[in-house]
């Protein structure tokens, strides 16, 4: 009888093509997502070596990082951004890779597009030259980010050379209090284990609070696994997963669907499976979370105070906190709530899905964005935008004073024209608060969509539960 194994072990074993004597594994890659920033050098490498794409139909390309979120019919103004998108267009044509054009309604952030199309399926291995590939683990797939050399390797061979990872279980039980959601769960986890806490691990999320999340909430949690250092985070698929996937354009159909679901139901860790590390969290104790510094591990409750480096005994950590405080222009010991902000960004692969927009619109409805704040909403894909407009969310946002934009990565990393000016402070639903991430000198506070909307209304970092109490 085989030893009890984890979900990760099962997916890993099912994808082994070869194991070398030194333990290095060659694993098969079922699905490969490609975008314009990390692929040009990979296609160029294929061209130089006279290689082809091994399995174009297992590949899906879309431009997302550089695309403008304003009127797209005018094309891309920045010549370098334009060249990068045009290069992708040439590469997918030359190598026969399926591609969604920038004016296709299916275009969007690559990690929103994959699940939306049913390209992302349980039990598969999924890679992309992008660290937030972890998102797709919400479907019980092994999904992780790779570099451009590895993109080239997958294009040429549909495989990757990898060392097996260790297993970490993060168990979140209990009921989430009102005003607290998936983003708060994952921020709390990163705050607890640290930005290198998951290095070398694949994380499996479990527990009642995870089971109770929608697929979109689960994607938010898995998405930010990389911010805790783990390349992949996954959640065992269940009826919610199958319900989400059924009928999507690339999902299996008919008898193949039945056969797939039968297999997908077997995808879970055995009860006796051993994890190398276990972390537990009580969801009922969570409050809306926020980052204060320039690492995603700098998490405090919105009701909390900014930490004092003098209280930190580790000298490297103390130095990092001092550097963060200076960059963020914050005072140790002060309350984070009430800090005035200049900008709000709602969108990204972390929080650019329809439920995120509903959550933010629920706060924005009937209210006005503070006069001192510039706020924008960037749907994760053309289909998310269309759905939001059908529900009238665009009107709620526009009436409240938010800008309603075209889909793309936008100000999550500011590769297009959407960016913070030096010194501007932003409440953002994205995933990284690194120095300069949203624009040189820009100051990012990571929050949930509801918290970002609340900050836009109040003009300062605020506890969304106070606004909810007014409703």
């Amino acid at each position: 009888m085989r030893a009890p194994s984890t979900l990760f072990d099962k997916i890993w074993d099912a994808h082994l093509v070869d194991v070398q004597e030194d333990g290095t594994c060659l694993i098969y890659i079922d699905r490969h997502l490609v975008h314009e920033v990390t692929s040009p050098q990979a296609f160029e490498g294929l061209r130089t070596a006279g290689r082809s794409v091994h399995r174009p139909q297992a590949t899906l390309a879309v431009a997302d990082h550089n695309v403008p979120t304003t009127d797209r019919s005018k094309g891309i103004q920045n010549p370098e951004s334009r060249l990068q998108v045009e290069t992708l267009e040439k590469n997918v044509a030359d190598f026969g890779v399926p591609y969604f054009e920038t004016d296709d309604i299916r275009q969007g952030v690559v990690h929103i597009v994959g699940p939306e199309q049913g390209f992302t399926l349980p039990g598969t291995t999924i890679v992309c030259g992008d660290s937030h590939t972890a998102t797709h683990g919400a479907f019980g797939s092994l999904a992780f980010g790779i570099g451009t050399s590895e993109v080239e390797h997958v294009l040429a061979t549909q495989t990757l050379l990898q060392q097996p990872a260790k297993n970490m279980l993060i168990k979140v039980d209990g009921e989430l209090p009102p005003g607290v959601g998936a983003k708060d769960i994952v921020l709390a986890i990163i705050g607890k284990i640290g930005t290198a806490g998951g290095t070398g691990y694949v994380v499996e999320y479990a527990g009642t609070a995870i089971e109770n999340l929608s697929m979109e909430g689960r994607m938010t949690v898995c998405n930010m696994t990389i911010e805790a250092g783990a390349r992949a985070g996954l959640i065992a698929p269940d009826e919610k997963t199958f319900e989400y996937l059924k009928g999507r354009s690339m999902s299996p159909k008919g008898a193949a669907w039945e056969q797939a679901v039968e297999y997908w139901r077997t995808l879970k860790s055995d009860d006796a499976a051993k994890f190398d590390a276990v972390v537990e969290l009580d969801a009922s104790e969570l409050v809306p979370e926020i980052t204060w510094g320039t690492s995603p591990e700098n998490v405090i409750p919105i009701t909390g105070n900014i930490p004092d480096p003098a209280q930190e005994s580790n000298p490297q950590k103390r130095a990092a906190w001092e550097r963060s405080l200076a960059y963020m222009d914050l005072k140790a010991g002060a309350a984070i709530e009430g800090t005035p902000i200049d900008r709000v960004f709602i969108g990204s692969c972390t929080n650019g899905r329809i439920e995120d927009l509903r959550e933010a619109a629920g706060i924005a409805k009937g209210r006005k964005v503070a006069a001192t704040v510039g706020a924008m909403v960037v749907p994760g894909s053309g289909l998310v935008k269309e759905q939001a407009e059908e529900e009238g969310l665009d009107k709620i946002f526009i009436e409240a004073g938010f800008e309603w934009r075209e889909p793309g990565c936008s100000m999550c990393l500011a590769m297009n024209d959407d960016r913070l000016e030096a010194g501007e402070r932003c409440a953002s639903t994205s995933n990284r608060n690194f120095e300069g991430r949203q624009g040189k000198g820009g100051r990012t506070h990571l929050v949930s969509p509801a918290m970002a909307a609340a900050a836009a209304i109040k003009g300062c970092l605020t506890d969304v539960r106070k606004l909810e109490a007014e409703d």
Binding site: A49, G145, T157, L413
Partner: protein
């Protein structure tokens, strides 16, 4: 891929934890479609002042470290994005070895693909090497991959661990894709098996 065997060079100290990929190469430089030329923007936001002039306080701008080929850094170096532009920028600048207590997984992988050597050492060793690196022009280290050793300016030597396959590929300068393509029959056999077992994936 270029071979890596032995390197003697100046080591620059960067005692900062969580040096992330946005610090190493900010996103405005990711718009290139080439691998080369990123060195001039390595650590751009730390290295240059707002007016574009060099920040004299930044380590790689100091005379002793302008030709550094080794960086000794705080824990979790290279965290954040998967951008291979980070190792490309370091390499283009002339950095071939990075020594830290830990690296982000994707950055660690990406470095090897570019003939660079990221070395993990324990906290005590790092503290010693950081001290060595802080000696300015005398901060010369010799890294020997074959022997898996780092020799300090005083002649003291420390041993480091490295996965044997990565070491082999780096010493020989092997091309991963070429190696894998020698296993094409195994890949095709896997695909045949998958067609029967999980036909919905091949449709």
């Amino acid at each position: 891929m270029e071979k890596f065997n032995k390197l003697t060079g100046v080591a620059a100290p960067m005692p900062i934890r969580n040096i992330d990929t946005d610090m190493i190469i900010p996103k405005q430089f990711l718009k290139t479609i080439k691998r080369e030329g990123l060195g001039k923007n390595l650590f751009d936001e730390m290295r240059f002042l707002d007016d574009g002039s060099e920040n004299p306080d930044f380590v790689l701008n100091k005379p002793a470290y302008r030709n550094a080929s080794i960086i000794v850094a705080g824990e979790n170096f290279g965290c954040g994005s998967s951008r291979e532009h980070a190792p490309w920028a370091l390499k283009d600048f002339g950095i071939q070895v990075i020594i830290s207590t830990s690296f982000a997984d994707i950055f660690y992988n990406n470095s090897f693909k570019n003939g660079m050597l990221p070395i993990k050492v324990d906290a005590e060793t790092l503290a010693k090497l950081m001290e060595d690196a802080e000696r300015g022009a005398n901060a010369t280290l010799t890294v020997d991959l074959e022997a898996q050793t780092i020799e300090g300016p005083d002649g003291g030597t420390v041993h480091f661990e490295i996965d044997s396959f990565r070491k082999h590929c780096l010493l020989e300068g092997l091309d991963d894709i070429g190696l894998t393509q020698q296993k094409t029959s195994k890949i095709e056999a896997y695909e045949e098996k998958q067609k029967t077992a999980q036909p919905w994936l091949s449709a």
